[in-house]
Subunit: 214 residues, 2 copies
DNA sequence: TAGATTGTTAATCGATTAACAATC
DNA sequence: TAGATTGTTAATCGATTAACAATC
């Protein structure tokens, strides 16, 4: 029996996205089915973990055969919510923002950039991808008149909180925050933080741990 | 008693980096001590979790007073390994690579970019920050003659595995992988993956879960 | 001392894993 | 049917939390 979204463990959700990525790659080949063991090997996991994770989707596998790749992709996308397109705005047209706007992976997973905002007069009017950078002051007006689901926040830490609360007030459902500061999600807006420096620190920790095992 | 690095839970390590970020911000103010409750509030955690995490560093707090910010920063940096500088190379001078090379947060945490590589003849010789893009073919020679600790991998998925194994063979201790593909860390090289599309998918999941709670 | 906050214990909660019955 | 692989159970492992004694 498929689990409801609220019952699916967060750890499983992250891995479902990983499975999806592998499956999409496999689908470009000729294979129709994939075994839990093969998925596990590709991602460095245990096969029993893969099966347990996939069992959250309902009985989508075929005993003795494996999981049908096409069905699995559909089932995972349905759970993740990426079986439909998501309209995304980018706030912050600095180096990182510009790079993110051109990131192929977003588009491939159904995330559609529809507008770019910045507060810097020197940037307003210039183009990021095919989008003219709009004045941050027009954010609320734009969001009120367009169906926007998510925002990518790539502004300096000093501006992140005020922009985030404006996005929340404007009714944005989710924020992917690249600013290196904790942004509180007060209301119904979900915030997902990505701190690149922290990722590098975690890597550094793993390295020093491996170098001096005791 | 301080725990040895190998005893510190991975979940704690991620949060130690978060604490460090908050503490560095606090240090710019006038406060000398911080209480576990205050740190917890800023990051949306429980105070008991903050205390348990910080207890991995040894008895660094002062009962009745709080944690001395300066000491705490030193203790966390020592555990994470960021009490010294790390030399980092960037492989892949596309949009994302260029943005990462200019990312302030890396430098602030002691990660020092020392060279940039790409295989595209059109990019080789051009400058990224102050660094001329070097031919990927000279990677091994460069690494053999310079003290390099980490590599940021920002190449297309199709190239990621071969570049990663070259980095491993060259003796790089850690790879921060931005390519949307699982890179196996066969030997002593540690790989830390950052998949931006997956972060957006996790956000999408949280949003649909919140929207339809049952 | 009195008040406050840490450090640590014990209980709870959640996630991972091995094993195997179910079944394609 | 025989062989293979899933789906699921039960056991293990690890992380979180509340509570409070220790102590500044």
């Amino acid at each position: 029996m498929p689990k409801s979204r609220s019952e699916i463990p967060v750890a499983t959700v992250s891995r479902l996205a990983l499975y999806l990525r592998e499956l999409q790659q496999l689908q470009r080949g000729a294979t129709v089915h994939v075994r839990s063991q093969s998925l596990a090997e590709r991602l460095g996991l245990k096969d029993s973990q893969v099966r347990r994770d996939l069992s959250c989707l309902g009985p989508v596998g075929q005993r003795g055969v494996g999981y049908p790749i096409a069905d699995l992709i559909i089932a995972i996308e349905r759970v993740l919510g990426t079986d439909r397109a998501w309209n995304v705005i980018l706030v912050g047209a600095g180096n990182l923002g510009r790079a993110l706007s051109g990131y192929k992976g977003f588009d491939q997973q159904g995330f559609r950039l529809v507008a770019v905002f910045d507060s810097d007069p020197n940037k307003i009017g210039s183009k990021v991808e095919e989008f003219p950078v709009q004045d941050l002051d027009t954010l609320e007006f734009f969001v009120a008149n367009t169906q926007i689901d998510l925002a990518i926040l790539a502004v300096p830490a000093s501006a992140a909180r005020s922009v985030a609360s404006r996005l929340e007030a404007a009714g944005i459902a989710g924020i992917l925050n690249f600013a290196p500061i904790a942004v509180q999600s007060s209301g119904s807006t979900t915030v997902q933080d990505v701190d690149l420096a922290i990722e590098l620190q975690r890597l550094a920790f793993s390295v020093v741990r491996n170098q001096r095992p005791h």
